[in-house]
């Protein structure tokens, strides 16, 4: 852990701004929002920050803590919280992930909203036992006498073009194998705020992975008020008839670009944001695949044992006779996340586009 790049978050921002934005994806996503409330143009870290302000304001039993949280966090998500709510409710912790989650479990078990930050998802593994053996089983093993449902673990995940092995990982699949927790990943600022508020208020422990690529890059109108978006409900963010694409988080904007390019070739793609990975919304995916007859799943994590495998197996079970082609998976390669080879490793737009075409033409 000692080698953590402490200045990483701050250094990341200018690079992201320099990178070209996908206007198409963000504007389309905005149109698909269910509520067009008056909002303020905001990036993803600010939306997270606003959610944290709201929850600390509305719930006196809410606490925000983690490494470097006091000064605003390396990604600025906790900016201003300590000034407003005091150091008893917003505080730094020692550099120890198992301690952060273990402390959070105890805090949550006393009826609090414990909002723990793990600085990078790549560093969540020291807390794996606390999440898997403790948080996930706390209610079940006590026969519902105790629970730590107030626990929410926030962790930035995913590729950022220069993160190498330890600032790029997408570890969601590990946690999707654990009954008792929920795993949620937002795709945009508006989604991030509404889903995070739901996760914090959900009576079950949740791991909330934030796409750090989008912290500053993704900007959209975000309602200023206190709103929640439902968990375990997927959303069709682009309707189509030839193939269903399923993804989550930052990968959706890449997939959307592929959908737009495929459309130019006359292929109509339906794009689904799964949002909650466990317990996941099979019905929405199934309904879509029954309509299109084809399925493609894309995620940044390595393909083997990735959550795409679970979606694929479940949909084959449910839609076998309706499928017109094998389920395609366009994912990360089965290697550690490689710095200089990142452009080769990631499931980019053209890899997805090729898979769309070969699936449709199967």
């Amino acid at each position: 852990m000692a080698a953590k790049l402490r200045s990483y978050g701050r250094g990341l921002a200018p690079l992201l701004w320099r990178r070209g934005l996908s206007n198409a994806s963000s504007s389309t996503m905005i149109q698909q929002q269910q509520q067009q409330q008056s909002g303020k143009s905001m990036n993803l870290y600010s939306a997270i920050n606003q959610a944290l302000h709201i929850v600390l304001e509305t719930d006196p039993r809410a606490y925000v803590f983690g490494e470097d949280v006091s000064f605003g966090g390396v990604f600025r998500c906790t900016t201003g919280l300590v000034d407003r709510f005091g150091k008893n409710r917003v505080f730094n912790t020692p550099l120890c992930e198992q301690g952060i989650v273990g402390f959070g479990i105890g805090l949550a078990a006393m009826g609090n909203r414990a909002i723990a930050e793990i600085q990078f998802a790549d560093y969540i593994y020291p807390a794996f036992d606390q999440i898997v053996n403790e948080a996930a089983k706390f209610r079940y093993r006590s026969g519902n006498q105790f629970n730590c449902g107030g626990l929410t673990i926030r962790a930035p995940y995913g590729a950022v073009e220069h993160g190498g092995h330890y600032h790029s990982q997408s570890p969601e699949a590990f946690f999707c194998h654990v009954p008792g927790i929920k795993v949620v990943i937002p795709r945009s600022p508006r989604e991030a705020k509404g889903l995070l508020l739901s996760c914090i208020r959900d009576p079950n422990p949740v791991v909330f992975f934030e796409p750090k690529l989008l912290y500053r890059k993704a900007v959209e109108e975000v309602p200023e008020d206190d709103y929640m978006l439902p968990l375990s409900e997927a959303e069709v963010i682009r309707e189509g008839s030839d193939i269903t694409l399923v993804g989550w988080g930052a990968q959706l904007s890449i997939m959307e670009q592929a959908c737009i390019d495929a459309e130019k070739d006359g292929i109509s793609c339906e794009l689904i944001d799964l949002k909650t990975l466990i317990p996941w919304d099979k019905e929405t995916v199934e309904t879509s695949v029954r309509k299109t007859g084809r399925l493609l799943i894309s995620h940044e994590a390595p393909v083997t044992g990735g959550f795409g495998a679970e979606i694929s197996a479940s949909i084959v079970e449910r839609c076998f006779l309706r499928l017109e082609a094998p389920v395609a998976r366009v994912c990360g390669l089965d290697t550690p996340f490689p710095l200089v080879f990142e452009p080769f490793y990631v499931p980019n737009k053209n890899k997805i586009l090729d898979a769309i075409k070969s699936t449709v033409n199967y």
Binding site: P94, G102, F103, G106, M110, R139, S142, F146, P179, K282
Partner: protein, 455 residues
């Protein structure tokens, strides 16, 4: 070990005598007498130091450094890996159950003293009967607390019901003290539908919200950070209560032990860490577990006030935990208690400890250092207890436990639907689906499933 310690102390001593000029010599020209210590890193350090730098240093100067002023010294002195003497062990009752003169332990009323004794005896009898029940195949597993009755009961006696207990697994006596009934113990061990944990965990994994006692998990040390988080909440709520967590000598090697002590110190959390240093982590002796003077010395490294207590002296445990509780709550600080004791029983019913430790050792602790006998003699000498009350107690408790076992055995197991509840607050669709599927499977193949688990 004693020899090594003496050697390293000599080295430190010698360096201070050598003075700065001696440091300029290269290692081959060092006195022959120190050649045997050549591998000691101290010598490597000697060769690279410049004496001149020290000569110009005023020893009265300080470095202002986070945490306070650090004095400079021209003397190269490595802190010894061990103190000259081991940390002493606080006790109140001597081996003959006499109060040690000038010992301080606060007051214990006759009523409390008698309850401490009767609960220790009850715990012993419960262990004996449940252990036998396991040997007869009536329950699947059991784990005794024999030898550690004083730590269990006397620590519980020093707390109030508002103090949250975050247990390891060898502290059922705390629950007993708090009024968890013998029937409740039996129901849990028989995994029947009266078990508050709904039959989901192995025997001895007790837990009770009513008794402010978190549910036991088999994992080692992972409960320690929970106690810190809970204690922090209690401090924020301004409660007149603290969190108390238990663990063993083996548990002190886990990362969660480090996390918890460090977090507790930094967060100024009112939590008492009680280590039952019983000498054995299953078959691993403490000599294979750590090289420190037990657990108590770790407290200081984390900035945690600590004490070592004779875990087989109920009065000492009672006094130390009472004082720890007072300091934890009024001063908002964690306290570490290392209780020296011995695991007289096997690790569990899956273990035969005679394979890895001498029977003489077990017998010595069982007979000469039994905490129940020791405390019993003391209350008898005070006139609070006698042979008659002793006989009556043992016979009554034995009958109660045998009845509880017989009753628990006849109660149905929890229904299959409890397999799916409580994973989440409500059943998600995948679990509803699996519930339905399982029920259809059971209908087709009823012979595959136990008859005593109702559908």
């Amino acid at each position: 070990m004693a020899l090594c310690f003496a050697k390293s102390r000599n080295i430190v001593h010698r360096i201070s005598k050598l003075g700065t000029l001696g440091l300029l010599r290269s290692s081959p020209s060092l006195p022959a007498s120190s050649a045997r210590d050549f591998k000691n890193p101290i010598h490597g350090a000697l060769c690279i130091c410049s004496a001149r730098r020290f000569q110009s240093t005023d020893t009265k100067q300080f470095l202002d450094f986070p945490g306070g002023k650090v004095p400079f010294t021209p003397e190269m002195r490595f802190i010894s890996e061990s103190a000259e003497e081991r940390i002493p062990c606080y006790r109140v009752l001597d081996d003959n159950s006499q109060l040690i003169m000038h010992g301080n332990f606060g007051q214990v009323s006759p009523e409390v003293a008698v309850k401490i004794y009767t609960d220790m005896v009850t715990l012993q009898i419960m262990d004996k009967i449940f252990y036998e029940a396991q040997r007869q195949g009536r329950i699947s597993f059991y784990l005794t607390t024999i030898g550690e009755e004083a730590i269990n009961i006397a620590s519980a006696a020093a707390l109030t019901i508002d103090d949250l207990v975050v247990p390891q697994y060898r502290e059922p006596g705390v629950l007993l003290w708090r009024g968890f009934s013998l029937q409740e113990f039996a129901d849990q061990c028989f995994s029947n539908k009266s078990d508050g944990c709904k039959g989901r965990q192995m025997p001895i994994h007790y837990g009770s919200r009513e008794h402010n006692y978190f549910t036991v998990a088999s994992t080692i040390g992972s409960q320690l950070p929970h106690a810190v988080g809970a204690a922090y909440s209690m401090k924020m709520d301004g409660k007149d209560a603290c969190a108390v967590t238990y663990f063993g000598d083996g548990g002190s090697s886990e990362g969660d032990f480090h996390a918890a002590l460090n977090f507790a110190a930094v967060m100024e959390a009112p939590v008492i860490f009680i280590c039952r240093n019983n000498g054995w982590a299953i078959s691993t002796p403490t000599s294979d577990q750590f090289r420190s003077d037990g657990i108590v010395v770790r407290g200081r490294a984390y900035g945690v006030r600590s004490i070592r207590v004779d875990g087989n002296d109920a009065l000492a445990m009672y006094g130390a935990v009472r004082a720890a509780r007072e300091m934890a709550i009024s001063e908002h600080r964690p306290i570490l208690i290392e209780a020296l004791t011995y695991r007289v029983g096997h690790h569990s019913t899956s273990d035969d400890s005679t394979k890895y430790r001498p029977i003489d050792e077990i017998e010595w602790w069982r007979k000469a250092r039994d905490p129940v006998t020791r405390f019993g003699k003391w209350i008898q000498s005070n006139g609070w207890w006698n042979g008659e009350t002793e006989l009556e107690l043992r016979s009554r408790v034995r009958n109660q436990i045998l009845n509880a076992v017989q009753k628990a055995e006849k109660v149905d197991k929890p229904s299959v639907s409890e397999l799916f509840t409580d994973v989440y607050d409500v059943l998600p669709s995948n679990l509803c689906e699996q519930d339905e599927l399982l029920r259809r499977t059971i209908k087709r193949h009823p012979q595959d499933y136990p008859k005593d688990v109702p559908l």
